[in-house]
């Protein structure tokens, strides 16, 4: 394991630090709250000459992702960061990045979408991009945001994958709070991520290739999409392998999901991002009081860990899924829908109830989490499952 330096820093600071350590050839970015300090800190690295990166200060997020696509097709290692409306403005480009099989790494500071305008945390932005063909990693803490950024480069550029990766951290909660973080040294990160080896690069002018061809006349479009699906399926093994390798240098293991108390849990909460800390805190005190409660934190949303989730939830009587995003007109939020889908083939299906919470940065107080475990205890004892989604903390 490599020696590490412990610092007090915000999530955005260490994401910028991880980006610098991964030595991108191009960063194209546009500022948006609460991502802004990532691109500001990176601009400082550029000004100080601490990176060789060509930093493209584009005029919009749409152009940020467009430039990233051009640079990645050119053969460069490419990174960017965005949030909320910015991610929404990138939407068509997100699909093009994955469709062209370009390994781009992007930090997303999770934030609510307008209207009404709101700059605080929820997952409406990323969940809107869930079908864009990107691998999606979620951090609970600034430490995980740092770790995920580095692992994302390896996953994206793996020849078995070649897909863009979004590394998500909760706006203001993780991006702006100061936390205790262990940083790897530059050489260790450089050795871990290696160099990008791009086949069919545009800058390989001796071997001209056409990127972004037209495939619309009754032929190969579905084959391209099938190949994209095959790639994201292959990424499961790559994510596991990269996680194991990263654990060897950092001491911090990475799994598609992380469980707490699930060995003998009777009820469990499934959650994504920074709220997992609150949930674990409540679960710990309930355990001390004798309740068999568990926590499942989903760290990789795309590809979704269906098998792992079904396995850890088998034998549980009641499951609550906490979504920090809406899916209007559906029976629950995106995580709820995936969790129920994961359990469909299970021999014993627990009751599943969906909660929507924390929209637009609304507080996730411990009593709200306690109320969820309280509901689960009632359901486990035979109370009916409420029709979802249940809004937590909304007037």
């Amino acid at each position: 394991m490599a020696e590490q330096k412990v610092v007090a820093a915000t999530g955005n600071t260490v994401v910028a630090e991880a980006m610098r350590q991964c030595r991108p050839d191009v960063v194209a970015a546009y500022p948006i709250t609460p991502q802004t300090t990532i691109v500001e800190e990176f601009a400082a690295f550029v000004a100080k000459g601490r990176v060789h990166t060509e930093y493209v200060t584009v005029e919009s997020e749409h152009s940020a992702m467009s430039a990233c696509i051009g640079a990645s097709a050119a053969g460069a290692r490419v990174m960017t960061a965005t949030s909320s409306q910015g991610l929404a403005l990138m939407w068509e480009e997100l699909h093009i990045a994955s469709g062209m099989r370009l390994p781009i790494v992007m930090a997303n500071a999770n934030r609510a979408l307008s209207a009404p305008i709101n700059i605080h945390c929820d997952h409406s932005d990323v969940m809107g991009a869930r079908d864009a063909g990107w691998i999606m990693l979620f951090a609970e803490t600034a430490q995980e945001a740092y770790d995920n950024t580095i692992m994302a480069v390896r996953i994206a550029e793996d020849p078995d994958v070649l897909l863009p990766v979004m590394s998500c951290l909760d706006g203001f909660i993780t991006t702006h709070s100061i936390d205790r973080i262990s940083l790897l040294d530059d050489e260790t990160v450089a050795a871990f991520v290696g160099e990008r080896k791009a086949d069919w690069a545009l800058l390989d002018v001796e071997r001209p290739v056409t990127h972004g061809a037209f495939a619309g006349l009754g032929g190969p479009y579905p084959a391209f999409k099938k190949a994209e699906r095959d790639a994201i399926e292959r990424s499961r093994a790559v994510i596991a392998r990269v996680g194991e390798e990263y654990a060897r240098i950092s001491g911090r293991p990475f799994g598609m999901l992380e469980t707490w108390g699930m060995e003998d849990a009777e009820v469990a909460i499934v959650v994504i991002g920074s709220t997992a800390g609150n949930v674990r805190h409540v679960a710990r005190s309930l355990r001390e009081a004798g309740s068999k409660v568990g926590v499942v934190k989903v760290r990789c949303f795309r590809p979704f860990p269906y098998a792992e989730l079904a396995k850890t939830l088998s034998g549980v009587k009641a499951v609550a899924v906490m979504d920090r995003a809406e899916s209007f007109g559906a029976e629950g939020g995106p995580l709820f829908l995936e969790t129920r889908s994961a359990l469909y083939d299970a021999a014993e299906r627990p009751a599943v109830v969906g909660y929507v919470y924390g929209l637009g940065g609304s507080d996730v107080k411990l009593d709200l989490v306690e109320s969820v475990y309280g509901d689960l205890a009632d359901i486990a004892s035979g109370s009916p499952v409420p029709a979802g989604p249940v809004y937590l903390g909304a007037r």
Partner: protein, 310 residues
């Protein structure tokens, strides 16, 4: 500047056999511009549109040079990224410091004057070492002849129809070349496929400058303009001779007319052969023709004042 004989010996970087219409001005513009790039390797990008769709039908490609298509509004931003990669990889020592590669983006008027204007303006302001070429055929031709902000006043288009209440497009066209000149970039030019020497020389200058360059190329669309496919060059020439499309360049802020028009022809000569202006010649529309002529005269006079005295 290269002679015609020299140009004939240069490799055509856009191969024949693509699926653009006969007489399409876009492919002529692309070939003439790429001839102007000289011997340096060129990476080309293209906005979504006829040019891209007809030259890259998978698994075939007409591009003998590295090529990228991204979306409709972002050819400039995409090529910015490619050029940025070139700079970043050079700085990292992964590409030799003396390696020479040129970068060019092509977009039609829809993808340039309208939806792509922001991304073009951004790329020019940032100073990327690239050439942006607009092939201006004055409408959204890929989806079936809808008006764009480059469509001339009075022209018929499927979204600017002709009827008792309205005679084609109601508004004047946007003057993109002057907008680009206002960016203060090293090189801006207006050219036409009818004047190949003027165009290839402008392309050579655009590729030679360090930093961004913009060329607006008049590129008739036989389908959209309702003209026979063998009249492309003739109509383009009339656009120049009537003063509808003056040929000039702005080099480091100095405006210069590159093709002099001594006896400017009446605008009718450009309009009459085109089916899209047919209604203007119906009785009762004389005032519209007079208005269009007055617009051309005014723009012409204003432009003359900008040109440096020889």
């Amino acid at each position: 500047m290269a002679t015609l004989k020299e140009l004939t010996h240069r490799e055509d970087r856009l191969a024949g056999g693509h699926r653009l219409c006969p007489g399409c001005g876009a492919s002529i513009a692309v070939r003439q511009v790429l001839l102007g790039a000289g011997e340096d390797p060129v990476v080309a990008g293209c906005a979504t549109g006829c040019l891209e769709v007809s030259t890259t039908i998978y698994p075939y490609t007409s591009w003998r040079t590295p090529f990228i298509h991204n979306a409709f509004e972002n050819a400039a931003a995409t090529i910015s990224g490619v050029e940025a990669a070139f700079q970043g990889l050079k700085r990292a020592g992964k590409i030799p410091a003396d390696k020479r590669v040129k970068f060019v983006a092509f977009g039609g008027d829809g993808g340039t004057y309208d939806i792509g204007l922001q991304s073009l303006s951004g790329a020019m302001e940032r100073g990327h070492d690239m050439v942006y070429v607009c092939y201006d055929n004055g409408a959204y031709m890929n989806t079936g002849i809808q008006r764009s902000s480059a469509t001339p006043k009075g022209a018929w288009a499927t979204t600017a129809q002709v009827g008792p209440a309205q005679q084609g497009k109601q508004q004047r066209r946007k003057d993109l070349t002057q907008i680009m000149a206002a960016h203060g970039i090293p090189y801006v030019a207006q050219a036409s496929v009818s004047h190949w020497k003027d165009l290839t020389e402008k392309a050579a200058k655009a590729f030679a400058v360090e930093g961004p360059a913009f060329i607006n190329v008049f590129a008739p669309c036989p389908r959209g303009w309702r003209i026979p496919h063998d009249k492309t060059i003739e109509i383009a020439k009339l656009a120049v001779q009537t003063g509808f499309w003056p040929l000039y360049e702005v080099e480091d802020g100095v405006w210069r007319q590159t093709v002099k028009v001594v006896n400017r022809k009446p605008i009718e000569e450009f309009l009459r052969p085109q089916g899209r202006f047919k209604h203007l010649f119906a009785p009762g529309n004389e005032h519209l023709l007079a208005e269009i002529q007055a617009d051309v005269d005014r723009a012409w006079e204003q432009l003359q004042k900008r040109f440096a005295k020889d």
